[in-house]
Structure formats: structure tokens, C-alpha cells
Amino acid sequence: MWEYSEKVLEHYRNPRNVGKIDDADLIGEAGSLACGDSLKLYLKLDGNIIKDAKFQTFGCGSAVASSSILTEMIIGKTLEEAKKITNKDIAEELGGLPQEKMHCSVMGQEALEDALKKYYGKEEIEEEAGLPKSGDKIVCTCFNVTENQIWEAIKVNGLKTVEEVTNYTKAGGACGRCKGLIKDIIDTYYKKEVKEEVLTPTQKILKISKVIDQQISPQLQKDGGDVELIDVEGNKVKVKLTGMCSGCKNATMTLKSFVESVLKDKVDANLEVEQV
């Protein structure tokens, strides 16, 4: 038996705003029948204010409660405000959810995002959430969970283990073959975060210089070229290609797909390399 909060009990027993809005301005969907839960969210707008919201859910008690409370949370809010709502907010509003049921709150957030994507465009929503660009890739084929969904769950909820990711997104919860991939995503996420948080501007310059000296230059030298660090301004790394590289037709490619990608990977994903 799950330990459901009073609020979860209240909302699965008497769900608010059940149904369909026939002339909805935005409709968001998440989940699927095969996976065991799915949610359809209907929004009616007045300008950029959510005037009404209704839902239909196929799912367990906490899925119904998450959907129900979500409609209460967004009615009357502007789209800008709604955009900021995360699964964590939904769970908190419900007075907490059992760990194994957190994926129900995630489904709520996903349906809301899906609706908002139709207003703002997919790119903007994803960029705002700071998601990897290649993130549409499906990681868990049993439950159709993408890299983006996992990334966002880690980010919003501070997830640290594969088991936690499974509780929040279901990924890895069936055949378990993607558990290695999930672990990689967790590792990548925290490596990135550490780099961004810890480095002061001076440390950043030193690190860029070290990566160029130890990892980039030796490779270019093999082809008779080299690269020299000129300056770092914010996230702009100014370099000069020398030797064979300086007159090479593929110089721009070398710069972007090799120098920049190594620096992005090893130092900071926001770095941009330009030649001076």
C-alpha cells in the first residue's frame, strides 16, 4: 500500500476539472495506453492567460491527483508563469508523492510542456529548459523515454541514481537494458554542472589553455599545424591557427568540429571558438 498524502486521496476521489474543452486553444498529451498511463490536457486562453483547463487521465490514483492539481495550479496563470511549473511543484502541491510515483508528476509537467510547445514552439521550450540538442533520442524503448525527459528530471529533481531516474521517468523500469545509458546521462549531467559551477574566469582560461596544450595541439601537430590561444572573453575563445592549418581549406571545420567540440566537452558547453 502506498503512503498517499491527504491531498492525493482528496484529488483522486474528487478530481477537479475533469473532461474536455471542445474549443481548446492548446492541447497537450503525455504517456500512452500501452505504458499504463496517459494524460490529455486542454487549455482555453484569454490573451496569454489560461482561462480554463481540463484533463482526462488514464492512470493510477497519483496520476489522476497530479493531473487534477495541475489544472488548479495553472488556471488564472499567464503562459509565462505556467511555463515555469515543474514536476517538483506538482508533487509539492500534492503534499508529496511516494518516490516510485514521482513519474506521475512528471507526466503532468510533460503534458503541460507539450501544450506550451504548440504556443511557443518546441525550440524555445527546450532551450529554456537547458536540454541537450540531440535530446529527442529515445533512451528507454520500453516506455519511450527520451534523453531530454531524463535530463530534465535530473535537473529539476536533483536525481543522482538510476533507480531515482526510473522512479521519476519510468525509464529502465521494464527490461532494464538502458540502465547503462541512464547512468551515462547522469554522469554527463553532473560533469557539466561541476564545470559550470566551479570555474572562475581565471580558472577557465587556465583550463582552456591546458586543454589546448595537452589535447588539441598534439593532434594538430601530427598534421603539421598548430593552434595558439590568443584571448578569452566570456565564452568566446579567440585562437589563431598556425603552421599547415593557417592556410588550410578545412580550417573552419577544424576549428568548429575539433577545437570547439573538445573545449565544449572538456571545459564548458557554452564555449564558442573563433579565429582571429
Binding site: Y12, R13, P15, V18, G19, K20, L33, A34, G36, D37, S38, L39, K40, Q56, T57, F58, G59, C60, G61, A63, V64, E100, K101, F143, T166, K170, G173, A174
Partner: protein, 395 residues
């Protein structure tokens, strides 16, 4: 409260509780001790063994070994037999065994054993021909449950035993009878079954006691090594009160068998008919005759199982579900999936399991309340068009 989850566990019969109490209170001696004070507990174990012998229709009481639960019985049987026959590395079992059995074979598979998992048809019946075709010279063990815990479907273990022994006499045959004991007659001495496991709490004994039948000429190794208890095959000071309890429960279950077969079957069928008649999105996941009397598995289409259970629970009705959400495993029942139950009904499958304590009024109450619950829950479902099609089809 209306308790319709007797395949999960059962209420302890008052008479069983009476039987065990003296050994929890005054008669606490270790049955192995030499003084008079130990005579009563030692006698209690002997009597219980005779009762379980009769309950299972075994030839001798020494064929009965007491264990702590159904899982221990299964583990002892499987590991014990395979340890004694290490040259043969092939196992046959079914896709629909209880996890206690299934996961034990998964371990052997990791350790290099070859395991064939036999499937079932859409009614949950075992593909006997497939099973027969898999039997090989190096098959060490075949393992088939007597009755399935989720559907109640009974498997023809006697026929399977005959076939195995006619083709490969050295192959051992283990039957997990946890869901059959107390529901249908078991008579091992009339069969060629080698080992058979049961669990007390499924027939009104307390949790924490089980038994394993092993045919006299079948060699196995103990799971727990130590003292001489259970003739050296299961060490550990005997759990006298619980052994007395399973003995009494076996005796009572034996007495109640004809009631179980007749009355419990009638109530179960009434429940099924009532629900199917009044609830438009209900479907019987299996309706075969050859089921234990107490079990019914019904799929409610386009509604999720946990949500149904919560609403039943709010009315004081206890049942269980094959849905993913109730198990914490994220995956729906492996039994219903092996049967190919469609996704539309898979996640909304509810198991009702009765007992000899189930009253007619309990069944009437569930039949009365189910349409209201479904009316409410289908209205939340996003699959309104699909539900409308079902509604029309049912008229």
C-alpha cells in the same frame, strides 16, 4: 470489510489459532529435548506431519518437510534437485510461474543453465504440446505450477508427470501447488510428481509456514544446513506453533473441500456474471471451466487498475490488480502479458479471490457497487471514443 484477495493471503481460521496458542505460551519446549516437557511439542509436529501427509495424499509422513514459506519450498526443491544432478543442464518451466520460482530459474540461467519457458494461450492454458516437445535427455528438471495465482487456471500436472516419466525417468518434476492447496483435491501418491510445495497462509494458517513433499526415492540437498531437524534436510529449531497451525489448517481445508468446490465456485461465478452483465467495459480475462473455485480475473478496459482498487478500498472492498502501478515494478503482470491480454484491459485487470469465509452478501455488494465505480472512472479516461464504441457494442 469485504475481503476478496485470498490468493494474496487468507485470514487465520479461529480453530487454527487455538491450535497454535499452547506452543506460544506454556508448551514452549524444544521438541528435540529429552525431558517430558518436550513431549507435547514433539507430538504436535508428528501430528501435523500426518495431517499434511493426508492433505496432499502422500504415502508417508516422512515425505513431508516443513519450511518457512512457499518460496522456501520452491527454492529447496529446485536447488536441491539440481545440486544432485549436475551433469544435466536443461530446465523446462512456464512463463506464468510465480516469481519465487521464475526468478530462481533466472539465476540458474545466468549460471549457464538452459531454460525453456512454456507459453500459454489467450485463456491462460498451458501449451502442453510445446512442453512435451522441449523434453530432452539432459533435462534435469521440469517445473509447472498446479494452478496459476492470477487466473486460477489449473494445469494438467498429472498428465505432464506421466509424460515426463515415460520419456525421461531421471528428469525430476516439481509442482508449485501454493494456489491449489485447499482449493482442489491433491493426491500425490496417485501421480508421478516428484516434489510439490505449499504455503500455509494461503489456506487459513498464519504467514511463515510452508511444506514440501518429496517422493521417497528423490534425492535433494538442503537449502539450510545445520542440525538434524526435518531429517537433516531443513535445519533450524522447529517452529512448533506454526507447524501445528499448518497441520490444523490442512485438516480443516480438507474438510471444507466439497464446500469450496461447490459453494465458492457458485459465488465466484455469480460475481463474474453480475459484473459482466452490469459493467459495459468489463471482460473476463479467462473463463475456462478448469480453474480453482475461488479465482476470477476481470479486465476493465480503458481504466487503470490501481485507481479501481483505491475506489474499491474506499468502499471497504479488498482485491488486487495486475496493473503496473500496484506492484511498484512499472510493468504489468507477466501472466496477463503471456496470455496476450490487450493493452486496453491489461492495466485495468482486477483479481477477485474468494475463500470459504466469503459471504453471499459480500458478492452482492461488489456486484451492486462496480457499475457506479466504473461510471465515475470511465468518465475520467481520455479514451472516450473507444469507450463509446464498447458501450454501443454491449447495447
Amino acid at each position: 470489510m469485504i475481503y476478496l484477495d485470498n490468493n494474496a493471503t487468507t485470514k487465520i481460521d479461529e480453530r487454527v489459532l487455538e491450535e497454535m496458542l499452547p506452543y506460544l505460551k506454556e508448551d514452549y519446549a524444544n521438541p528435540s529435548s529429552m525431558y517430558d516437557f518436550a513431549k507435547k511439542p514433539a507430538a504436535a509436529i508428528r501430528e501435523a506431519r500426518v495431517k499434511v501427509r493426508d492433505f496432499l495424499g502422500a504415502a508417508n509422513e516422512k515425505d513431508i518437510y516443513f519450511t518457512s514459506c512457499g518460496s522456501e519450498s520452491a527454492n529447496t526443491a529446485i536447488k536441491g534437485v539440481l545440486n544432485c544432478n549436475r551433469e544435466k543442464r536443461h530446465i523446462i518451466t512456464t512463463k506464468v510461474e510465480h516469481p519465487a520460482v521464475l526468478n530462481t530459474y533466472k539465476e540458474f540461467e545466468k549460471n549457464g543453465y538452459e531454460v525453456d519457458y512454456i507459453g500459454v494461450n489467450s485463456q491462460g492454458e498451458l501449451d502442453i504440446e510445446e512442453l512435451k516437445s522441449k523434453l530432452r535427455k539432459d533435462t534435469a528438471l521440469v517445473s509447472v505450477m498446479y494452478a496459476n495465482n492470477e487466473t486460477g487456471v489449473i494445469y494438467p500436472v498429472e498428465e505432464i508427470a506421466e509424460y515426463i516419466k515415460s520419456k525421461s525417468p531421471d528428469t525430476r518434476f516439481f509442482v508449485d501447488a501454493v494456489q491449489a492447496a485447499g482449493k482442489i483435491p491433491i493426491n500425490v501418491k496417485e501421480t508421478k510428481i516428484d516434489l510439490l510445495g505449499i504455503s500455509g497462509h494461503k489456506f487459513h494458517a498464519p504467514k511463515g509456514i510452508g511444506a514440501l513433499y518429496v517422493k521417497p526415492d528423490v534425492r535433494f540437498t538442503p537449502l539450510i544446513n545445520g542440525g538434524h531437524q526435518e531429517r537433516g534436510m531443513r535445519a533450524g529449531t522447529e517452529n512448533v506453533p506454526y507447524i501445528a497451525a499448518i497441520g490444523k489448517a490442512a485438516e480443516l481445508a480438507q474438510e471444507a473441500l466439497s464446500y469450496e468446490l461447490k459453494e465458492v465456485t457458485r459465488l465466484r461465478d455469480k460475481l463474474e456474471e453480475g459484473i459482466l452483465k452490469n459493467v459495459f467495459n468489463a471482460r473476463l480475462n479467462t473463463g475456462v471451466k478448469n480453474r480453482v473455485p475461488n479465482t476470477s480475473n476481470i479486465g476493465f478496459e480503458y481504466v487503470e487498475g490501481e485507481l479501481i482498487l483505491l475506489h474499491l478500498s474506499d468502499l471497504g472492498i479488498c482485491a488486487s490488480s495486475g496493473s503496473a502501478c500496484t506492484s511498484g515494478s512499472l510493468e504489468p503482470s507477466h501472466v496477463l502479458r503471456a496470455m496476450g491480454v490487450p493493452f486496453t484491459a491489461l492495466h485495468g485487470s482486477i483479481r477477485f479471490s474468494l475463500s470459504r469465509f466469503t459471504k453471499e452478501s459480500d458478492i452482492d455488494f461488489v456486484i451492486e457497487k462496480m457499475p457506479d465505480i466504473m461510471k465515475k472512472l470511465t468518465s475520467i479516461s481520455p479514451f472516450q471514443e473507444e469507450l463509446e464504441v464498447l458501450r454501443k457494442r454491449r447495447g
